[in-house]
Amino acid sequence: MAHSLHHSILIRGGHVIDPGRMNGPAEVLIENGKIVAVGHNLAVPSRGQDASLRTIDATGQLVLPGFVDLHVHLREPGFEYKETIQTGTASAVAGGFTSVCCMPNTNPVNDNQAITEFILDQARAAGNAHVFPVGAVTKGSEGKELAEIGDLRRAGCVAISDDGRPVMNSLVMRRAMEYALAFDLPVIDHCEDLHLSEGGCMNEGLVSTQLGLQGIPAAAEDVMVARNLALAELTGARLHLAHVSTAGSVRMVREAKARGIRVTAEACPHHFSLTEEAVRDFNTLAKMNPPLRTWQDIQAIKEGLRDGTIDVIATDHAPHATQDKQREFAEAPFGIVGLETALPLTLALVEEGVLSLEAAVAKLTTAPAQTFSLTKGTLAPGADADVVVVDAQRQWEVDPSRFRSKSTNTPFAGWKVKGLATTTIVAGNVVYELA
């Protein structure tokens, strides 16, 4: 590992937010990879010369649990030219994320134990963030036969999803939900009716009409959200809805939660920061799936984040090489990188008054950890020492050429934003420091 090891780290002078547990000035003491204490005037164990103690001055900064991203694409195995587990996790820690859940749409698909183990091996070798693989729902994500979900679970998968290739057959989805119950494994769906969205490349609406691009109606998402909620109610499964993008989805999830259905939902920063207008000059960097929607949808997502309908902020980090995106709009692949811009875009919600600072931190830490039952996202004594120090006032301009990710496909280039991770610690090791 490139980074230095410290047996003890003391983070002093910062404002600690551990959602639901602590919100105020405090010190954080880390020893042997674990959080030892959060408080004042912490007794640092004396070890003679004390060569192994490192002190981090966090004066004027926030000290937070490392962020947990439930939705990333690390592209390895199969698409290493877009991203590798090494570069993807380097990007994660630069953005303050210490745990990422990687989607199974690699090549081969992560639908078996061997691939899951390979991913975990690569993650260990990279030594950046913790990686929690998401296994496929069906073999090859073909939507037909169930993958060996029990094996995937045993190998380390924390949820199942056929992300990007949603399970269209409702019976298969029902069986997957039922089967996953045996392992209490969350079932994630990328909600998209592939018939309604066929050929579409942006939101269906005024802009798609003006540009002559085939639209993807909001109903393509809503129809599947409705189906999945009905199946979750039928089966009692833990349903997690990926990247909610429509006002209709938010409304249905809110209603389902009120009725006690076990459903959680995530929203991506781009879906609350940009509208379909970003596509107007055929900008392939604004092409993702689900597509950027309308101002009304953004308002609904913000309201959903505020009232708890949407539990989690996740990035859907989807790296693509320059040559992939430099194509005609309809042919360019969906997706943008997100790990290194999620923090400031989330903090903008605090500035805007949508979320309190603690609630915003919770959407990136405690809430995602809880959603997939990960023992992460907290600074409780005894927890893994995954910590991020954030300068919330630091202004910076998004410059993709400085990303740690292998890819630079972001629509936020040139944005003046506020809030930056300055130090990231994973399991007691400083894995990232702002230069």
């Binding site: 005024l206 798609s208 009409t209 002559g212 691009l213 055929f282 430099q326 194509r327 005609e328 709009f329």
Partner: protein, 306 residues
């Protein structure tokens, strides 16, 4: 007077003054095309590349003739003969053509936005000869030219555009052009062929053709893409034709001197009855003639030769 722009990729980006400048420039070239020797030296020494990714006889020929009548050198590129099949990107291929000092690239491409993408990537002027369902600016310009030639004022002109507007670049360019110049545009077709939020472009939408045609000055028919039948846009050609075909009876609902237009190629007996296509009301062949003059005007204005 000149166009202060490198490219012509859309009508949406043109001002009414720019549109009128192109039409006025085309006037003088129309006169040239009527001469015995239909050639002027305006673009001598310039190279125009016709870069066509979709089969097209009429538009490509029209551009080729226009360029040749301006004395430009013309090269035709099409996918089967170019390196596109070898996996080279549109931009790379275009940069290669540019490296051969092409002054103007005329692009026809199945993907919306292709012309704008290309225009951003090369120094040559780019003329959009149709990009997906997005725009076909020179078609709209030649339609305007034809209407103006028939001494019609654009302001208050009532124009019905009938057919599959959702998948039509001709419809989009004409909607932008006509509304910019003050015409009243009626969009007519089954709801499956009317794209989302079309009214926001300043047009009125009709599903009933008879109602829509009442009192119009111009009927612009769109070509029905017959292969779309399988995609649940309309049940059968028979039913489409009965509901949205332009018959002699329907033509009588319009103003007595109404004009009938069609960008071609015509599906006779489907969207337009043969006797209507061949009637005095039809200006379909005038459109074709004027296409050459209008494209000469556009090539001339973009070449910087003026």
């Amino acid at each position: 007077m000149s166009l202060k722009r490198k490219d012509l990729t859309s009508i949406a980006s043109l001002s009414p003054d720019e549109i009128m400048l192109i039409l006025e420039t085309a006037d003088s070239f129309k006169e040239v095309t009527g001469r015995e020797i239909k050639k002027v030296p305006a673009l001598r020494g310039k190279t125009v590349v016709n870069f066509f990714f979709e089969p097209s006889t009429r538009t490509r020929t029209s551009f080729e003739l226009a360029a040749k009548r301006l004395s430009a050198d013309v090269i035709n590129f099409s996918p089967s003969s170019s390196s596109i099949v070898k996996g080279e990107s549109l931009l790379d291929t275009a940069r290669n053509i540019e490296a051969m000092q092409a002054d103007i690239i005329v692009l026809r491409h199945p993907s919306a936005g292709a012309a704008e993408t290309l225009a951003r990537g090369v120094k040559s002027s780019v003329i959009n000869a149709g990009d997906g369902w997005h725009e076909h600016p020179t078609q709209a310009l030649l339609d305007l030219f034809t209407l103006r030639e028939k001494k019609l004022e654009f302001k208050g002109l009532r124009v019905a555009i009938v057919g599959d507007l959702a998948h039509s670049r001709v419809a989009r360019s004409n909607i932008y052009a006509l509304t910019k110049l003050g015409a009243e545009v009626r969009a007519v077709g089954p709801p499956t062929m009317i794209p989302a939020c079309l009214e926001k472009l300043g047009v009125r939408v009709y599903y009933d053709m008879d109602e829509a045609l009442r009192g119009v000055d111009v009927i612009m028919m769109l070509r029905l893409q017959l292969e779309r039948q399988g995609r649940a846009l309309f049940p059968t050609i028979r039913e489409y034709s009965r509901l949205y075909g332009l018959t002699a009876d329907r033509l009588r609902l319009a103003e007595p001197d109404a004009l009938v237009m069609h960008p071609g190629p015509v599906n006779r007996g489907v969207e337009i009855a043969p006797e209507v296509a061949d009637s005095f009301a039809s200006v379909i062949l005038d459109q074709v003639t004027n296409g050459v003059a209008v494209r000469m005007g556009v090539l001339y204005l973009l070449s910087g030769a003026n």
